[in-house]
């Protein structure tokens, strides 16, 4: 199978081949996690660790909250024209103790989400540039086997 190299919309934040994971950083002294990944010193004021090393994060997490954008965000977001509403979810990764925001996989809307629902990392194209190159971004997608539809939802 031939696959063309996927160009990430930002370097080093996630893997571009399966298994898809976000990449964080971990303090080599105290073990705390950081996302987005970065170098430098540990964010904990009590830790004198000066080394953060890249580490893959859990592939799945639970929805902490979510929303749906109904208006095209301003640049530097590259919005499709015409704009299609899409959802964002903040997802809790239990092992790492982080909540990470991401776009929700295309076609999965706020009405399909609920707090506590299990989601996993996937990739999709964020935008195509003027040279026709696709730029990829991580997404939160309903985990295999999770309920994707709410039984009931308010009139929000």
């Amino acid at each position: 199978m031939t696959t063309t190299e996927r160009v990430p919309a930002i370097e080093g934040w996630f893997t571009t081949s399966e298994p898809y994971t976000l990449i964080g950083a971990k303090c080599t002294t105290c073990g705390t996690y950081v996302f987005p990944p970065r170098g430098g010193t540990c964010p904990s004021p009590e830790c004198e660790g000066a080394e953060l090393e890249p580490t893959p994060l859990s592939r799945t997490g639970k929805v902490w909250s979510y929303t749906e954008n109904h208006y095209a965000p301003p640049p530097p977001y590259v919005a499709a024209d015409p704009f299609e509403p899409y959802a964002l979810a903040a997802v809790q990764l239990e092992a790492e103790g982080l909540v990470i925001l991401g776009q929700v996989a295309k076609g999965v809307m706020a009405a399909d989400l609920q707090i506590g629902m299990e989601v996993e990392v996937d990739l999709q194209v964020l935008y195509r540039d003027d040279e026709g190159v696709d730029h990829w971004i991580w997404t939160w997608a309903p985990a295999a086997g999770s309920h994707t539809a709410k039984n009931e939802k308010g009139d929000a």
Binding site: T32, F35, S44, T67, N69, P74, A90, A156
Partner: protein, 400 residues
């Protein structure tokens, strides 16, 4: 109850909020002259000028202290220029207060003004791939309303709030704002108006989200001795009991604007007080006062749902019960704890560097009984609170 460290608000002045697109300095001059007149102080008597910066108006905005000093006429005064996002005005206040308390000045001007573009706030120009503000827009399209909406959704799903509860905040604030001459929107909204309001970031509608505005606010603050010399007495003087500018404590586990992720709580246990709780707590400590002492509060209602959070952060009710206060009219004019008697950001829209100073103007006039049509009866202690991006919290407490 006041101590000699409690400075005095000698005068306050504002330019009406609106959307005209004129030079921000023009608005600032109106506010400055109004505050000087209110204080009975000549511009040339001001020893220190603390400017709150605006980042969307070119270089003059970044050096607001000198920009306003030049506009009013150079006097050789000492200056500072501060940027702290939404907390910029409070940061300028703190700068002037510290200067006076250190004994370097007796009387100071605190000033902020802004001219805002239309639509969503976007990051300032240029491709800055390592700026979290640029990243959240480029990678996610996570606008400010999207963050407000994540928070609102939590309130609905975790606390059982309804979108009608949120709408009631706007209804309450718009009713108060109708009688505030400085408010931009002088229209009273009803719950029925929400049905026709488009959803911006689910579950929030356009009417739930504060606009961006032009405006300016200015206060003149001084030592008690200076005020006494001016008036012959400190009777009836508005005192600054606390100005707290607070950062979060690691790990900050609540997703806050503009961050893409929280800190990790895998190794370090989060502090007992969350960030927004600590902003108020530190000011209460400084003032030696508590939530029970507050007559009225000005809180940053960037969204309707956020106002409900503040009730809880201020200790007006336990976490999760904020909606009950708006439902029962507790936070309306005439209620036990009026909040945003000015009309709040719902009636003003946000003029970033001026907003926290405008909150202080409003509280000053409330304590002096100068708010016809939106007066909190017998107001003795007023509190203003807001949160700037990137962990800049501010809270100011005034008393009479």
């Amino acid at each position: 109850m006041s101590s000699d460290r409690d400075l005095v608000v000698l005068g306050a002045g504002m330019h009406e909020w609106g959307k005209w697109g004129r030079n921000f300095v023009e608005y600032g001059l109106v506010a400055a002259r109004a505050a000087l007149a209110d204080a009975g102080v000549k511009w040339s008597e001001i020893e220190f000028v603390a400017g709150a910066d605006t980042i969307r108006n070119g270089y003059p905005g970044f050096v607001s202290g000198s920009t306003f000093s030049q506009a009013l006429g150079w006097t050789g005064a000492q200056i500072s220029s501060s940027y702290a996002a939404c907390a910029s005005g409070a940061q300028a206040m703190q700068s002037a207060r510290a200067q006076i308390l250190a004994g370097f000045a007796d009387v100071a001007m605190v000033i902020g003004a802004d001219t805002t573009p239309k639509g969503f706030f976007a990051p300032v120009g240029g491709e800055r791939r390592d700026d979290p503000d640029w990243q959240r827009f480029h990678l996610l399209g996570a606008t400010n309303p999207a963050f407000f909406a994540l928070n609102a959704r939590r309130r609905i799903d975790v606390f059982g709030d309804t979108v009608e509860d949120f709408a009631m905040v706007k209804v309450k604030n718009s009713k108060a704002g109708v009688n505030n001459p400085y408010a931009r929107f002088k229209k009273e909204f009803s719950l029925e108006d929400f049905a026709g309001s488009p959803i911006v970031s689910d579950p929030l509608r356009l009417l739930d989200i504060c606009a961006t505005s032009d405006g300016a606010a200015c206060v003149i603050i001084c030592t008690p001795e200076y005020a006494k010399k001016k008036f012959g007495t400190l009777e009836g003087a508005v005192r600054i009991r606390a100005v707290s500018n607070t950062t979060p404590t690691y790990p900050q586990v609540r997703l806050e604007l503009p961050d893409i992720a929280t800190d990790s709580n895998a190794v370090v246990t989060p502090p007992a007080l969350g960030f927004k709780d600590s902003i108020a707590h530190n000011a209460y400590e400084q003032a030696g006062l508590g939530p029970e002492d507050i007559s009225c509060a000005e809180v940053y209602d960037l969204s309707t749902a956020l106002e409900l959070d503040w009730y809880e952060n201020l200790g007006f009710c336990p976490e999760g019960e904020g909606a009950g206060l708006v439902r029962d009219g507790v936070t309306a004019l005439g209620g036990a704890k009026p909040v945003n008697a000015s009309g709040g950001l719902a009636s003003f829209g946000e003029a970033i560097p001026a907003q926290a100073i405008a909150q202080v103007c409003e509280l000053t006039w409330q304590l002096q009984g100068r708010c016809p049509g939106h007066q909190v009866e017998n107001a003795k202690v007023g509190l203003a609170i807001n949160q700037g991006l990137f962990g800049h919290g501010s809270c100011t407490i005034l008393s009479i």
